[in-house]
């Protein structure tokens, strides 16, 4: 499972993911990972918790597709994407992207590419529960589209 994706309700352990990414490998001198977490403020509003839904079937397709695209663009040894769904509280982990490569610039760039494409392509949606008790679907940010367009 040197290249893999996972959509799951349960939490993940970064240490274990790191260990698995480098398991049995001595070629990758560089490892980069990113973790996204539920933060307490969004667009100036207090957030209490969040629920994440996705489009089963398509999500996995898209994540596999962007992983394949990263493999074409950079020299990667291994990569893994984990995205959680369901109910998430403040501070909980949402997403993990880990990339290993012989060279750090490949690992850095591929990790950023994977996140930029995940955020704009993978069919996940966040609904926040605000401090005022109101539910609010998170709006897509134009900034994310701009970040993605850097890679085109």
């Amino acid at each position: 499972m040197s290249f893999s994706i996972m959509v799951q309700t349960q939490d993940f352990e970064v240490g274990r993911e790191y260990a698995e990414l480098i398991s049995g490998d001595t070629a990758a001198g560089a490892v980069v990972f990113f973790v996204g977490r539920v933060r307490d403020m969004n667009d100036g509003q207090q957030v209490k918790s969040m629920s994440l839904e996705h489009y089963p079937g398509m999500t996995e397709n898209i994540l596999q597709h962007i992983l394949a695209e990263a493999k074409v663009r950079w020299e990667l040894v291994a990569a893994r994407i984990i995205h959680r769904i369901g109910e998430l509280n403040l501070g909980e982990q949402i997403v993990f992207v880990g990339v290993t490569s012989a060279h750090r610039e490949h690992a850095f760039q591929a990790a950023e590419f994977l996140m930029d494409f995940l955020k704009t392509q993978a069919p996940f949606w966040k609904k926040e529960l605000g401090g005022d008790g109101k539910e609010n679907w998170v709006a897509a940010k134009d900034n994310d589209e701009q970040r993605k367009s850097r890679w085109e």
Binding site: Y55, M115, L118, F124, K126, A140
Partner: protein, 82 residues
């Protein structure tokens, strides 16, 4: 039949998660939307929103995509994962 899904906020706006549409004569996304608003006029402002995304059989639909019986067509708002 064409299986039509509405996801996330769009599902709540339409009050519908899924429906089956008899595919007689419907071969494009545009025709499918037109068909849907015949029976649900109040859906027009959501379905003809130009930010709406469309997938056919789990892939983003290109403008000229052709749909046929047995296809799964999903409509959804811009994605917000990560």
């Amino acid at each position: 039949m064409i299986r039509v899904l509405f996801l996330a906020q769009l599902r709540e706006q339409l009050g519908t998660a899924e429906l089956q549409v008899a595919d007689g004569g419907i071969t494009t996304i545009e025709a499918l939307k037109q068909h849907l608003v015949v029976t649900h006029a109040d859906w027009a402002r959501f379905l003809f929103n130009n930010k709406l995304l469309v997938a056919v059989n789990h892939e983003y639909a290109k403008a000229d995509v052709t749909i046929k019986s047995g296809d799964e067509v999903a409509f959804f708002p811009p994605v917000t994962g990560g």
